[in-house]
């Protein structure tokens, strides 16, 4: 898989409060490509 896979994709981010939060994933995905539709941070506790 390379960056071109994400080029025309809509990205849904499901972060984790105890893992990687949504905004941190979003920052990373901004360098990969695609359009971020939403970013969420779940809490599993």
């Amino acid at each position: 898989m390379d960056k071109s896979f994400f080029a025309d994709k809509k990205i849904c981010i499901l972060g984790d409060r105890d893992g990687i939060p949504g905004p941190a994933i979003a920052e990373c995905m901004n360098t990969v490509g695609g359009e971020i539709l939403f970013s969420s941070t779940e809490c599993f506790v």
Partner: protein, 103 residues
């Protein structure tokens, strides 16, 4: 995976098509990441949410799995600290297992 996010994923898949949507996870544990992956591929395994019996078959990856595609400086700033404390290999193995099992 909470009910609100199941609803959002379902709506997004219906609006844009399942071939256009990708889900990226940041789960702390292999089990929770695996359950979320299973939900967006095969439907809600707890039979409680809007994705019950709805197999969207969406591509889903944990952020650790696509490290090589991310700008190294951004990855280092945003992810690397948690990468040191979480069981990256277990999470990657579980994600691969779930994809093979349900995709």
């Amino acid at each position: 995976m909470d009910m609100a996010n199941q609803t959002r994923i379902k709506e997004v898949a219906e609006k844009f098509g399942t071939d256009k949507v990708v889900v990226i996870l940041g789960g702390a544990e292999a089990e929770s990441a695996g359950l979320t992956a299973e939900t967006v591929i095969n439907g809600d395994p707890t039979y409680a949410g809007p994705l019950t019996n709805i197999a969207l078959k969406l591509p889903v990856y944990h952020i650790f799995e696509i490290k090589d595609l991310i700008d190294p400086e951004v990855y280092d700033a945003q992810i690397s600290m948690m990468e040191m404390v979480l069981d990256v290999d277990a999470i990657k193995d579980e994600m691969e297992s779930i994809r093979q099992q349900f995709s």
